[in-house]
Amino acid sequence: MKNKTVQSPEKTAGTVSPAAVTRREFLKRMGLAGGGLIVYAGFGGAQAFARAARTGYAGTNVPVDFNAFLKIGTDNRVTCFVGKIEMGQGPITSFAQMVAEELDVLYESVDMVMGDTDRCPWDAGTWGSLSTRHYGVFVKEAAAEAKGVLKQLAAERLQCPPERLVTREGVIFDRNRSGSRLTYGELTKGRVIERHLEDVPALKPVSEYTVSGKPHLRRDSREKVTGQARYSGDIRLPGMVYARIVRPPAHGARRVSVDTAAAEQVDGVQVVRDGELVAVLHRYPDVARQAAERIQAKYVTPQTGINHETIFDHLLKNAPPPAVAGQAGDLQAGQKKAATVVEETYLNSYVAHAPMETHTALAQFENGKMTVWASTQSPFGVQRQVAQAVGLPAEKVRVITPFVGGGFGGKSASAQAVEAARLTRLSGKPVMVMWSREEEFFFDTFRPAAVVKIRGGVDDAGNMVLWDYRVYFAGRRGCENFYEIPHHREQVYGEWRIEPGIHPFAVGPWRAPAANTNVYARDLHINLLAAAAAQDPLEFRLRHLKDPRMRSVLEAVAEKFGYTPARPPSGRGIGIACGIDAETYVAVMAEAAVDENSGAIQVKRLVCAQEMGQVVNPQGATIQMEGCLTMGLGYALAEEMRFDNGRLQDTNFDTYLLPRFSWVPEIETVIVPNTALPPKGGGEPAIVCMGGALATAVHDATGAKLLQLPMTRERVKAALQNRKRA
């Protein structure tokens, strides 16, 4: 490995490329100009290209310079900077593990700084279970390169061939002369060194891991159990006020008049207006709210005739032409071979993200610079949006992401940050916008309602020969067929993104977007085919599966469950579902009892097996699986946004039901080891199975087909009725 020049950042001041300016600014802001180790290799260019080729992560602005990710202080502590955010899913722990592993420092000596646009390297946003899969590679490579540079520096200082140097717990020593040692901090002390390695050293083989792959408790627990953890709504600034914004009663409503006089009477209230934005500001949020309630605003609301029952027809009527996600053979030939054809239509409802922390942001404008503390999954996206909204260049906007109280995809959009920034400019005061629960539901980017139509067939020998799959508006993710079926086609009519004129309110990514709907429909349908072929549903799946990863999770879940084969409906209430999400393979078995009088479903047991390549933090991965299964009880059993003409009927947790303690059964999880693959996603996969696992459990218990999620008591009773008629 060859060195590049050793240079201080000041020396680059004369260079003209914009990248150099960015770089210099960046280092200054990181406080690196005064000390610590600085090694960089510029943004973009050949190195970025090489990395994109290596990691499969192209087309990003993620810097290739490892200084963007790491700072080694003179006190031997390491700070790791990442553009990702912590919303409960645990990267604050797993990134620290990765750094400790590749840099050979103590896990405890690593501090994390996340989601601060002034201090952290760019990132697109925290979603898609990508933090470990992709961004993790950058962090590991940064640590590996830093270690390589430190070794070079140590070799020079200790006058020893680099091969003799050993790194351990933040110390480099000569293995032949035990007294000959330097800490990383001593090595970098008071020096600003710019050096990088031409090639990133190879990452450690998994077999040498001592920190990664070992279970670690969350590192933010102490702050969170003591109430010291700061979320956006917990930041306090002198002179700050809380905003209550005047909102329409329904989506599509147009305001025709607004009278703020009565609100202005309230002591200490300031009313601000800017076009459509009308807000009440007060130093107390409760007083701002009361004052806002005195505002008289009139609206006209168009009658669309669309509600949560008519929506499915509306979707089918307005479907765009399909995209083919996969196909083989010829559906007509499959139809001819089929001895039995089963055809069904599955419906799925709008579901809210409902994080416990509502969208919140505090904005401050000082010395020409806007600082926004925001609960967001996309700090760099917010930076761009705020800059645009208030007419500032992006570098004059800093977004800081404190702890985020849950996101699940819903905080990919962060309109509250733009509102806070605008109100700060209008009022000249720091402004906190904390959406009420009603606003949180109203402005959510819901998981879209969707329809799936499946026609499947089995031949006389019980082999699936036909699979004609159409999904409307859920989206493609998770619809691909992985069974051995000679004649199949998957068609996707519309994605989960906003499609003009289709949805009555905003839709967007909801934890494992599309996959929850696709796996539900597929697995219930597979069970119906297994029943038609008089076969055990697990064996039926396995006989159509070659993919070893899928077989491994199905076999693992069955073993953990203690499954014995039976034809559905067996009366036992055992359900099964499996899928691929974020490159992770997952299978769930559920046991449920159905009260045929009330229609109530009680889930008794959930077992989940997941194969996700290498696992950085098995404890964190297990908790994500448990969290997915628990959260998934909601969309499977109860969660559904009801609405009429753009007016939401569920506006708080009294009628929009989240999973509760009494719903949650025993949960058992298995991680199927596979160290041959790099880490795959962990924050989303297990949730995709919940609709399917519970719908097949109800089918196995009663023979009733639940063709719509959520499986409310009414729908269960109706399905039981239909079963009798059939």
């Binding site: 159990v225 003591t226 979320y231 709504g233 959260m631 303690f661």
Partner: protein
């Protein structure tokens, strides 16, 4: 109407001049600077704002500050003693019974209230007692385990 209201907050006396009908939650979070109690719904249906009033777990969004005059109020900030986590806090940390942590202060204080009235609850009693506190991250099974181990650590004593 501005009233003089006194109560005990985390074992220290508090004297306020404040509109008596303001919700305790917002008085805690603004006037008193204690942000551990969270806003989740504002209607008493999520438990994120739970505090202890005379050792009973209560949603602070549903109580006016005038109503706690003369009472002992305890928030999550008042649980650590001499730098030591309370056994319930410790159990939550040991069991990783939190993810985003937004529901956590409310969960811990709800568990405190539960153990104050029933020091050795069964699993079912824990589930029943915690039922109204919501957690979107799905940490329920770990919270139940944490409360069980906190009860053991307290050896049947009151929290």
């Amino acid at each position: 109407m501005i009233e003089a209201i006194s109560f005990t907050l985390n074992e220290k006396p508090v004297n306020l001049r404040v509109e008596g009908d303001r919700p305790l939650l917002w008085v805690l979070r603004t006037d008193l600077g204690l942000t551990g109690a969270k806003y989740g719904c504002g209607e008493g249906v999520c438990g994120a704002c739970t505090v202890l009033i005379d050792n009973e777990a209560v949603p602070a969004c549903q109580v006016s500050v005038a109503e706690v005059a003369g009472s002992e109020v305890r928030t999550i900030e008042g649980l650590v003693k001499n730098g030591q986590l309370h056994p319930i806090q410790q159990a939550f940390a040991d069991h990783d019974a939190l993810q985003c942590g937004f529901c956590t202060p409310g969960m811990i204080l709800k568990a405190y209230g539960l153990l104050a009235s029933n020091p050795a609850p069964s699993r079912q009693e824990i589930i029943d007692g915690m039922e109204d506190n919501l957690c979107r991250c799905g940490t329920h099974v770990r919270i139940v385990a944490a409360i069980q181990s906190a009860a053991r650590a307290l050896k049947g004593g009151r929290p």
